[in-house]
C-alpha cells in the first residue's frame, strides 16, 4: 500500500475504519472538459468521502462517465484540479492514479470471456512473466472471495458466468489492488433486482471498511436504499452537489435530472382536439427486454408523451415499435393491422413513420447525398437520372428548411438540427397516420428543437397519432395531450394536462401516484432473473 494516510495491514479488511470516516478521499474542483464544441463538463465540483457511498445521477450525456474517467486518469480535464487522498493529481495517467488506490469498474465488462475467473484476475495484475497455472489463479481468487464475501467461481470461464457473477468478478479485480476509492459506472444497469440488492450490500460493507465508493446509476430507488450522498449532473454541470440523501426526495432528484426551468420556447399546441379519434397505435400486453406488460393506445390527432429516466425500457419500446425486434409476448397494431417485424417497407406502408433516437445510426447514411437519404425506404424499383433525382429533392429540402449546400451535399456535412429535419422530411413525407418520435429534439439547439417540435405538432393536428418518447419534461408538457411515465419497464399514467411536475417526478422515481411512499424500494421481480447477458 503506497498511501501513508491509510495504514492497512496485510489481512486488511477491518483496519482504519472509523478514523477516516467522513474525511475527503477525492476532491474535484471546477472540472471543465469540452470535446470540440460540446461542453461535457462545465465546472463540476465533487467530493468523495471515506466510509460513504456517493451516488452520481444524471441522464445520458450529462457528463457522469467523463467525470469518472477523469478521476481514474482515462481522460484529463481542460481546467480544474483533482486531489486524491490529499495529494493533487498532476499527471492524468491511468497507471499513476491506479497506484494511488483508485479503481474504476467500467460500464461495459472488460473480462476475457475465454479465461477463467482466476485467470482474469491475474491478467489484470500479473506476477512475473510466465502464464500462471490454474491452481495459483484459483487460489488467488479464492482468497479475495473469502475476504470480501463476493461469490465468484475461480475455475469457470468468464463467458459462462451470469452477468451478476461477472460484475462481482470485475469488482474483485478492482479490489485486488486494495483500492481505497472505488468507482462503479452504472453497475446495476445489467443486473436483476436481487443481484443489484446484493451489490449494494457489498458496497455498503466496503464503505464501512473506510473506502470511498462512488456509484453511477439511473435507478433512483438504489440511491435511497443504498447511498449516503448524492450529486446530480445535468448538461455538464452539477445541479446538486455532495448533498446528503436525507435532504432530498425522489421527486427532487428526478426533476433535477431532467431540468426544472423552462429552457426553450417550445411550440404549444394552439388547439387541442377534445374529441378523441380512433386508436391508430395500439400495444397490447407487450413484454420485451425491460418492458413488462405494456398496454397503450395512441389516438388520431393526439400526441402522447412518454417521460422517464433513461434505461427504464425506452430502448426496448423503441425497438419494438419500430419493428426492429418482436415483442416476447403481446402485439402491436397500427391502424388495426398487426406490426410486421424486420420488414421496414411494410412498416411504412402501414403508415408508421419512425424518427429514431440515434439518427446517425438508424436514420441516415452520412457518406451519401441528401437526395439519396430522402429516398431511403421509398426508393422505386427503377430510379431516375441522378441529376433529376437531386432536382426532385430540392423542394422537400426547402420546405423542411434543411440548410445545406444542396441535394448533392453529403449528409455528414449537416448540423444536428438539419440532419434531424432531413429525417423528418423523409418520414413525414407520405403523410403517415402514426409517428414514433424518439428523443426528436435531442442534441438540437433551441431554434432547431422548436422547429422539429412544431413539425410534429402540425402532423398531429392533421390527424396523425404521435408517440413522443422524450427526456425534457418541459418539452413534453408543452407538446403532449396525455403523458405516461416509463419506470422500471412499466407505464405509469395517464397524466393529463395541466401536468403536475411533482406527481410526474415521483412517478419517474418509481413511485406510482396513490401508492404509499413506504412501499419497499425493491421487490424481487422473478421475470427479470431469467434475463441472459446480452452478447
Amino acid at each position: 500500500m503506497t498511501d501513508p494516510a491509510c495504514a492497512v495491514t496485510d489481512d486488511g479488511a477491518t483496519v482504519d475504519t472509523t478514523a477516516d470516516r467522513g474525511r475527503s478521499a477525492v476532491v474535484m474542483r471546477g472540472i471543465h472538459r469540452r470535446f470540440g464544441t460540446t461542453v461535457a463538463l462545465g465546472g463540476v465540483d465533487l467530493t468523495l468521502r471515506h466510509g460513504e457511498i456517493h451516488a452520481v445521477l444524471g441522464s445520458n450525456g450529462a457528463g457522469k462517465s467523463t467525470l469518472m474517467k477523469i478521476m481514474v486518469g482515462l481522460d484529463r480535464p481542460d481546467a480544474g484540479g483533482v486531489t486524491i487522498l490529499g495529494e493533487a493529481v498532476d499527471r492524468f495517467e491511468p497507471r499513476a492514479i491506479r497506484s494511488r488506490g483508485v479503481a474504476l469498474v467500467q460500464q461495459h465488462f472488460t473480462l476475457v470471456p475465454t479465461l477463467t475467473g482466476g485467470e482474469n484476475l491475474v491478467l489484470a495484475r500479473p506476477e512475473g512473466r510466465l502464464r500462471p497455472d490454474r491452481r495459483a489463479c484459483r487460489d488467488r481468487l479464492a482468497s479475495l472471495v473469502e475476504r470480501y464475501g463476493l461469490e465468484v467461481r475461480g475455475d469457470v470461464v468468464a463467458g459462462a458466468m451470469s452477468v451478476g457473477e461477472q460484475q462481482r468478478l470485475e469488482l474483485l479485480r478492482a479490489l485486488d489492488a486494495d483500492a481505497r476509492v472505488l468507482l462503479l459506472d452504472e453497475p446495476t444497469a445489467v443486473l436483476t433486482d436481487a443481484e443489484a440488492d446484493q451489490l449494494l450490500a457489498v458496497c455498503r460493507r466496503l464503505a464501512e471498511d473506510g473506502r470511498a465508493v462512488a456509484f453511477i446509476t439511473h435507478r433512483l430507488a438504489e440511491v435511497f436504499s443504498g447511498c449516503d450522498r448524492v450529486s446530480v449532473l445535468r448538461e455538464g454541470s452539477a445541479v446538486i452537489s455532495d448533498a446528503p440523501i436525507a435532504d432530498h426526495s425522489r421527486a427532487d432528484l428526478a426533476s433535477a435530472m431532467v431540468g426544472s426551468e423552462s429552457s426553450g420556447t417550445y411550440s404549444r399546441r394552439a388547439s387541442r382536439s377534445d374529441e378523441a379519434g380512433a386508436a391508430l397505435l395500439q400495444l397490447r400486453g407487450v413484454r420485451a427486454g425491460r418492458l413488462h406488460n405494456i398496454d397503450l393506445d395512441v389516438r388520431a390527432g393526439e400526441i402522447v408523451g412518454i417521460a422517464g429516466v433513461d434505461g427504464n425500457g425506452q430502448a426496448d419500446l423503441e425497438a419494438v415499435l419500430s419493428g426492429r425486434t418482436a415483442p416476447e409476448t403481446g402485439s402491436v397494431h397500427i391502424g388495426g393491422a398487426t406490426m410486421v417485424v424486420a420488414d421496414p417497407r411494410s412498416r411504412r406502408s402501414l403508415g408508421l413513420a419512425y424518427v429514431p433516437s440515434d439518427r446517425y445510426r438508424w436514420g441516415l447514411m452520412r457518406p451519401m447525398d441528401l437526395a439519396d437519404n430522402l429516398e431511403l425506404g421509398r426508393v422505386p424499383r427503377v430510379r431516375g437520372r441522378r441529376a433529376h433525382r437531386r432536382e426532385a429533392a430540392r423542394p422537400a429540402l426547402q420546405a423542411w428548411d434543411v440548410r445545406s449546400s444542396g441535394p448533392a451535399a453529403r449528409a455528414a456535412t449537416l448540423s444536428g438540427g438539419n440532419a434531424q429535419k432531413l429525417v423528418l422530411a423523409r418520414e413525414l413525407h407520405d403523410e403517415p397516420s402514426v409517428v414514433l418520435a424518439c428523443y426528436p429534439t435531442r442534441g438540437l439547439d433551441p431554434n432547431a428543437a422548436d422547429a422539429v417540435a412544431g413539425r410534429l405538432v402540425d402532423r398531429a393536428a392533421l390527424g396523425a397519432a404521435v408517440l413522443w418518447i422524450g427526456a425534457e419534461l418541459d418539452e413534453l408538457f408543452a407538446v403532449s395531450d396525455r403523458m405516461f411515465v416509463l419506470s422500471d419497464g412499466e407505464l405509469i399514467g395517464p397524466f393529463t394536462s395541466p401536468f403536475d411536475r411533482g406527481v410526474i417526478g415521483l412517478a419517474m422515481g418509481g413511485l406510482a401516484p396513490g401508492s404509499a411512499p413506504s412501499k419497499p424500494d425493491r421487490s424481487p421481480v422473478p421475470e427479470l432473473e431469467q434475463q441472459e447477458p446480452s452478447a
Binding site: 445510426r361 437520372r385 448533392a408 451535399a409
Partner: protein, 359 residues
C-alpha cells in the same frame, strides 16, 4: 434568398464532384506508375535496362502480332470476376473466394454441355445452356458463403476462401472421375465441341470478351438506376439504417454475393469454352485472386473495372513478350501487381488523411 439557394449549392456540388473525380482517377494512375517504378528497380537488380524492358512490353502489347487480342482474351475473366468483386465490396462484403465460384461455374457448365444427349444440340443452344449453368453454379457457391455469413455469422472472408479449396479438390475429382474424357490420356473433360465460343470477327478474340465488355456498363446502370444498386450503397454505408428503413440487410447481402458468384461462374465458362476448349488441370490461372487487384484498381466502379482489367491483362501480356527477349523471372509481373495494390491502398489512406476526414 431563393436566388442564393439556386446558385450557390450548384457551385458547391461541382466543386465536390470534381475533387472526388480527381482523386478517383489520380490514385490508381499514380499507383500504377509507382508500381512500375518499383518494378524498374527490380529489373535493374536483374541486370536489365528497365526502359528497354518496358518499351518491349509496350511495343509487344500495342504492335505485336497478337498483343491486343491476347490482352483482350486475358482481360475477359479478370473483368467479369472483378465486376462481381466491385459489387460485393461496395456493399462492404469482403469476399475473396471468386476463384472457387469460377471453378464451380466451369465444372457445372462443362459437365452439362458435354453430357450425353446434350452435347449433340446446336452450338448457340449449348452456349446458352453452358452460360446459364455456370452462372447458377457460381451463384450457388457464392451463396453458400453468403448463407453461412447471414445465418451463422461466419466471416465471408474466411468461408469464401475455404470454399476455394473445396472447389479445387472438386475439380480434381471431376476431371479424373466425374466428367473425365474416357479417350483422353491426361485427366481432362471431353472437348466442348459445338459449345466452344466463336471468335469475334475483326477482334481476334472469343465472344466472352464482348460479354465482359458489355457487362460493365450494364452493372453501372444497375448500380445507378436500380433499387438493388441503391440498397448496395446503403448497405455499404450504414447497414443499420437499411435494416430500420428499407429492407433486411441480410437479404441484400445474399443478393450481392449471389450476383458476384454468378459473374465469377460466367467467367469460368467463358475461359473454358473460349480459350481452353476442355476442362483440365489448369482451368484457372488464379484469375479469382488477380481480379481483386482489378476491382481495387478500378475503384469499384464498373467502367473502371473494365479499364483496370485491360490494364492488368496488358501488364501480363507485355511482360510475357518482354521475357522472351530479356532475361527476366516470370514472377516479376506478380510483384508489380502486388505493388499496385499496395500503392492503391496507401494512396487512398493518404487522400483520406489529406482531407482530414475519418470515415
Amino acid at each position: 434568398m431563393t436566388l442564393t439557394i439556386g446558385v450557390e449549392p450548384r457551385a458547391g456540388a461541382v466543386r465536390v464532384a470534381t475533387s472526388a473525380v480527381r482523386s478517383t482517377l489520380t490514385v490508381p494512375i499514380v499507383a500504377l506508375l509507382a508500381a512500375l517504378i518499383g518494378g524498374a528497380v527490380l529489373i535493374l537488380a536483374e541486370g536489365e535496362d528497365p526502359f528497354a524492358v518496358y518499351w518491349t512490353a509496350l511495343d509487344g502489347v500495342l504492335f505485336g502480332p497478337r498483343g491486343l487480342s491476347d490482352t483482350a482474351t486475358a482481360a475477359t475473366p479478370l473483368i467479369l470476376i472483378g465486376l462481381g468483386y466491385a459489387l460485393a465490396y461496395r456493399a462492404r462484403l469482403f469476399t475473396i473466394g471468386a476463384e472457387g465460384q469460377y471453378l464451380m461455374g466451369a465444372i457445372a457448365s462443362v459437365a452439362l454441355v458435354t453430357a450425353a444427349g446434350v452435347r449433340d444440340l446446336p452450338g448457340p443452344a449449348l452456349m446458352v445452356i453452358g452460360a446459364t449453368a455456370a452462372v447458377m453454379a457460381g451463384a450457388l457457391w457464392g451463396g453458400l458463403a453468403g448463407f453461412l455469413q447471414v445465418r451463422f455469422g461466419a466471416s465471408v472472408v474466411i468461408s469464401s476462401l475455404m470454399l476455394v479449396y473445396v472447389a479445387q479438390a472438386f475439380l480434381q475429382w471431376a476431371i479424373r472421375v466425374g466428367i473425365r474424357d474416357p479417350d483422353s490420356f491426361i485427366p481432362a473433360s471431353r472437348e466442348l465441341g459445338a459449345a466452344t465460343l466463336p471468335t469475334v470477327p475483326g477482334l481476334d478474340t472469343h465472344l466472352g470478351f464482348l460479354v465482359a465488355i458489355v457487362t460493365g456498363p450494364c452493372l453501372a446502370l444497375l448500380l445507378a438506376r436500380h433499387r438493388l444498386g441503391y440498397r448496395v450503397s446503403v448497405l455499404g454505408h450504414n447497414a443499420d439504417a437499411l435494416d430500420a428503413n428499407e429492407v433486411a440487410s441480410r437479404r441484400v447481402m445474399l443478393a450481392v454475393i449471389v450476383w458476384a458468384g454468378g459473374l465469377a461462374g460466367l467467367a469460368g465458362f467463358a475461359e473454358t469454352a473460349g480459350v481452353n476448349g476442355r476442362l483440365g488441370d489448369s482451368a484457372s490461372l488464379g484469375y479469382g485472386f488477380t481480379a481483386i487487384i482489378v476491382a481495387l484498381l478500378g475503384r469499384l466502379h464498373p467502367i473502371g473495372v473494365v479499364l483496370a482489367g485491360l490494364a492488368v491483362a496488358a501488364l501480363k501480356i507485355g511482360f510475357e513478350v518482354a521475357a522472351r527477349s530479356h532475361e527476366l523471372p516470370s514472377s516479376l509481373v506478380g510483384v508489380i501487381q502486388a505493388l499496385v495494390v499496395v500503392f492503391v491502398v496507401a494512396g487512398d489512406a493518404l487522400v483520406a488523411r489529406g482531407r482530414g476526414g475519418s470515415r
